[in-house]
């Protein structure tokens, strides 16, 4: 049996009176791109932060790399890209990458090489020595992705990685993600773009903090008897609302 990088069991979380996560189960094995889809405010980001141990959960357990979260040391094995870019604007892209590389314990001799690799992947090599304050939105997004890749982690957790990135580069990035997957790495990706969802190996649809449906894209389409993931998304939502109404 291949190792599971992430095992979340019965994770629940509330903010105030709002139940944001309701007994979510999630298992991410090695070598898989796992997609999280769901409407805005569904709880995708909250689930990701709970998995990383940055958000305290009310109940349930999360294990990353066989370690119960929250755990500080495990963070070094996870490449994280937050939903909003968190970059030091007065520093150059290279300096940002260097900083996070050092924090992620990338060995000094490997750091320059890793910076070239990560920057190349997101097509920022020629802009590396420009200050981030002079970057466009899409460039910042790509830099955030490069930072997530800097220590060449086994597990990548990417919160809407391709927002603001043009179609060509988006294709390129997905090709790279698939290459990484083939080397045994896993990715947990949230997205609002349905054709990206189609590229995932496995999908979970979250709505109002509930895991409405999950399975491979093909299985989901079959289950709901529709042609696209977009229709799965809409149909599952309508069914949930109908159920809530019946109650």
């Amino acid at each position: 049996m291949a190792t599971d990088y992430v095992i979340a069991k019965q994770v629940s979380k509330h903010f105030g009176h709002q139940q944001v996560l309701n007994q979510i189960d999630l298992t991410l094995p090695a070598g898989m791109i796992y997609g999280l889809i769901g409407p805005s405010g569904a709880g995708k980001t909250t689930l990701i932060k709970s998995i990383l141990g940055m958000e305290a959960v009310d109940s349930g357990t999360v294990k990353v790399m066989d370690t119960v979260m929250p755990n500080r040391a495990v963070m070094a094995q996870v490449g994280y890209m937050a939903q909003s870019d968190a970059l030091y604007e007065t520093l150059t892209a290279r300096e940002n990458l260097t900083l996070f590389g050092q924090l992620m314990s990338v060995p000094k001799i490997k750091l320059a090489q890793m910076i070239d690799y990560a920057a190349g992947l997101v097509d920022l090599t020629s802009q590396l020595d420009k200050r981030v304050s002079g970057y466009s939105g899409g460039m910042k997004r790509r830099l955030s992705l490069a930072i997530a890749l800097i220590q060449d982690p086994q597990l990548l957790i990417l919160d809407e990685p391709t927002v603001g990135i043009d179609p060509e580069l988006r294709q390129q990035i997905w090709t790279e993600l698939n290459k990484l997957k083939d080397t045994g790495k896993s990715m947990l990706v949230t997205t609002h773009v349905m054709d990206e969802a189609e590229r995932c190996d496995y999908l979970m649809l979250i709505r109002h903090g509930i895991a409405l449906a999950e399975g491979t894209p093909a299985a989901l389409k079959q289950q709901y008897a529709v042609d696209t993931i977009e229709q799965v998304f809409l149909k599952a939502g309508r069914m949930q609302d109908a159920n809530d109404g019946n109650r």
Partner: protein, 415 residues
């Protein structure tokens, strides 16, 4: 090392931000310079004083550095003040001096008051001195007469004794000769001692100032407190705002998505911004000492040390307070609440004279301890032993606030 990565980042960011650098390093110098000129003894202010029929001896002793004197023929003070736009009018009837102040400008009123008062004191002293001089002359002549008399007397005794001794020796009466010899010695001894005592009659007075000098100014006495205040203020503001920025831009929680320890972030901040605080302190202290020729009694290293501790307290306090602010504007709102009141307890107003509840407040203000230590070192030359308690209390503030900050970061990551 992760902490050093944070330190390097802080340094890089600060060096890129020229405005903030200028604020931190040049603003204190600018304000110090302004204060220096503001609190300098004001020598250019002139008050005009009209005099009528006042003894020349009195007019002569009025200090004319700050007061110009005009002579008039009228004894109607009110009228003359209005007519000639004077600040004061001095008249004399027999021994009685009458001064009328316009008092439209209280500063000028006090200038005249001071000049007149010191003038009158001077006058009194002068008369006293002349009297003493006369007395001394009289005394000296008396003494001289006395001395002459004693000398003559001694002379007589000596000759008498000498002949007696010669006679006794001639007689072969050794015992009597020796007794007389002793008497002779005594007689000559008295003469020499009487000349000695006559010499020690003129006394001179010399003034010594233990703290500061005769031209110590307001600026000089409050300089140490302000040195501490500047470091405290700027470091509080800059560290608080920069951590706030980290929080609002999300970089703080991004940092915490790496294996870094919460304490490493705080320590990185302490070292990074502490470094700039040291540069600021050195710059400000060296500037004030060399440019304004401030007399530093104690050790400059103690000044640096105290300021560094103050800066570290300000740093941790700024970081701590920033957790209660959601924007830079809200951070600024804490300045009148947290920073400005501290200056009142830094020695501008003597804390001993405050109401007891105010004294209690003073003792929870870091600047109170820092400024006290700085003032003691700069003006009294206090050593490490004298200010040790203050420094320890500052360290205590720093440790407690650092702990609070480290715990407070649990909001962003649970471990």
């Amino acid at each position: 090392m992760r902490m050093m990565a944070i330190v390097r980042r802080v340094f890089k960011q600060m060096l890129r931000d020229k405005r903030t650098l200028a604020l931190m390093f040049l603003a204190p110098l600018l304000i110090m310079t302004l204060m220096y000129f503001l609190f300098q003894n004001n020598t250019t202010q002139l008050a005009s004083l009209g005099v009528h029929h006042v003894d020349q001896s009195v007019v002569n002793v009025i200090d004319t550095k700050n007061v110009t004197i005009h002579h008039y023929d009228s004894s109607q003070a009110r009228k003359m003040i209005k007519q000639h736009d004077l600040d004061g009018y001095l008249t004399q009837k027999n021994g009685q001096l009458t001064i009328t102040y316009s008092n439209s400008n209280p500063t000028n009123t006090s200038l005249i008051k001071a000049s007149l008062q010191s003038g009158l004191v001077k006058l009194k002293m002068k008369t006293l001195v002349t009297v003493t001089k006369k007395q001394r002359a009289a005394l000296e002549s008396q003494q001289a007469a006395l001395k002459k008399l004693t000398a003559a007397q001694t002379q007589a005794t000596v000759t008498k004794l000498k002949t007696a001794i010669a006679q006794a020796q001639a007689r072969g009466d050794q015992a009597t000769a020796e007794k007389l010899q002793k008497q002779l010695k005594q007689a000559t001894a008295t003469t020499s001692s009487s000349t000695q005592s006559a010499k020690a009659t003129s006394y001179t007075t010399k003034s010594h100032y233990i703290y500061g000098s005769s031209d110590s100014t307001f600026f000089e006495s409050f300089l140490p407190a302000f040195l501490g205040f500047f470091v405290f203020f700027f470091v509080f503001l800059i560290s608080g705002v920069s951590l706030l920025n980290e929080r609002t831009t999300g970089t703080l929680s991004r940092l915490l998505a790496t294996p870094i320890r919460r304490s490493e972030i705080i320590m990185g901040y302490l070292i990074g911004y502490g470094g700039f605080a040291i540069i600021q302190t050195v710059l400000t202290v060296v500037f004030t000492i060399t440019v304004f020729k401030i007399h530093l009694v104690g050790s400059i290293w103690l000044v640096f040390l105290t300021n560094l501790l103050l800066a570290l307290v300000a740093l941790t306090l700024g970081i701590f307070i920033s957790t209660f602010a959601n924007s830079e504007f809200q951070m600024i709102q804490f300045i009148p609440l947290i920073v400005v009141p501290q200056i009142f307890f830094a020695g501008l107003v003597p804390v001993d004279g405050m109401a007891s509840w105010l004294q209690a407040i003073a003792h929870i203000m870091p600047l109170y301890y820092g400024a006290n230590a700085l003032t003691a070192v700069v003006t009294k030359g206090a050593g490490l032993g004298d200010i040790g308690v203050n420094l320890l209390i500052l360290v205590g503030f720093m440790v407690v606030l650092t702990m609070l900050n480290i715990v407070g970061m649990k909001r962003y990551r649970k471990v």
